[in-house]
Assembly symmetry: C2
Homo-oligomer: 204 residues x 2
């Protein structure tokens, strides 16, 4: 497939948009959310403040889009498009694969520092926290809900299980270890979480 | 048992110590960790700065002790001393009881605001985060490790399960919902986590 020629103005604004995203992510990682002002983002990106306000109503919106874009970029690089959890027919294999990719992402310094700064702000700034959960985290969790539902259809997960709660048995431990430094993160660890969650702690 | 008479000086310093704890917890909740200075704690508690430095080397130590004291107070009020998870012989019942008590604590405003402010700082200030995890969180998690070990001895948990990872299947989801506002917290929710973790998501 041949790329269509991109008009100069569009190319210029894509370049500015990317520079603004990068500036916003770098700043929030360095100085935290409260000090990441639209002025500072504009100065760092080498654009006027008005350019930012033309595209986004607030710094929260710039950051939200920057994270969505970073996630999309990372997924493209890892060859993980489109965003569905694969269904090979083996639920354990599929969950382990996606959690291993999440481990890679959480340990990627491009993602780690800004995500941590934003998560810290979300803990004490409830409206911001709720917005980022709704727009960044929940869409990812929906993918687990979908995969667990199809596992229920296939008889691999009990029909009375609530998938939205079930996914937390392997997603939340990884999130807490990463957020709060409560333990090391590795493929072996996330594989173990999947095995424990699917088969339970009690003897069968 | 008759209480021994408390010397006046001890009573006075216990009163100061409690006032300093209360001031530290209130301040961190109101202005966050970075702005909670020893000076501000002293002013709010109505003591001299030197009184604080005589007892604690840093503000982190004041806060650590204030949280340990608050936890001990809450446990006394709830009649949960000594700090062990009861062993009634029914693991599900015991885990559900202690998680219900944790739900009460997480929703208690005396605990909620300072704990959230400190957790937020721990996310971006790794040494502080690690110290508080080691001194506040891990000792609580050890209680689950002990209870799961005795369940292994009783044959109620598979012998190949690592208790330190297993406890995360029900502790971390509650922590993430509370920290990140990813969902509501209730007794029904924590009961469900225990059932899913013990029996697994896959059909038996």
């Amino acid at each position: 497939m041949v790329d269509k020629p991109v008009p100069d103005a569009t190319r210029r604004s894509e370049k500015s948009r990317r520079a603004i995203h990068d500036a916003a992510l770098a700043l929030v990682a360095e100085v935290g959310y409260p000090k990441t002002t639209v002025e500072a983002i504009a100065a760092r990106a080498g654009v006027g403040k008005q350019t930012i306000y033309r595209w986004w109503p607030s710094k929260a919106d710039v950051l939200l889009e920057a994270f969505l874009d970073l996630g999309a970029q990372t997924a493209r690089e890892l060859g993980q498009e489109p965003y569905v959890i694969p269904d090979t027919g083996d639920l354990a294999v599929d969950l382990k694969a996606v959690l291993r990719a999440t481990v890679d992402e959480l340990l990627d310094p491009r993602f780690e520092a800004p995500a941590r700064a934003l998560a810290a702000e979300g803990l004490v700034n409830e409206p911001l926290g709720r917005e980022f959960v709704a727009k960044l985290l929940e869409p990812q969790l929906r993918l687990y809900v979908d995969r667990l539902r199809s596992a229920q259809d296939a008889g691999d997960v009990r029909p009375d299980v609530d998938p939205r709660i079930a996914l937390e048995l392997f997603v939340s431990p990884l999130a807490q270890r990463w957020l709060q430094h409560t333990g090391p993160i590795s493929y072996e660890y996330t594989d173990t979480l999947v095995d424990y969650a699917l088969h339970g702690l009690a003897p069968r």
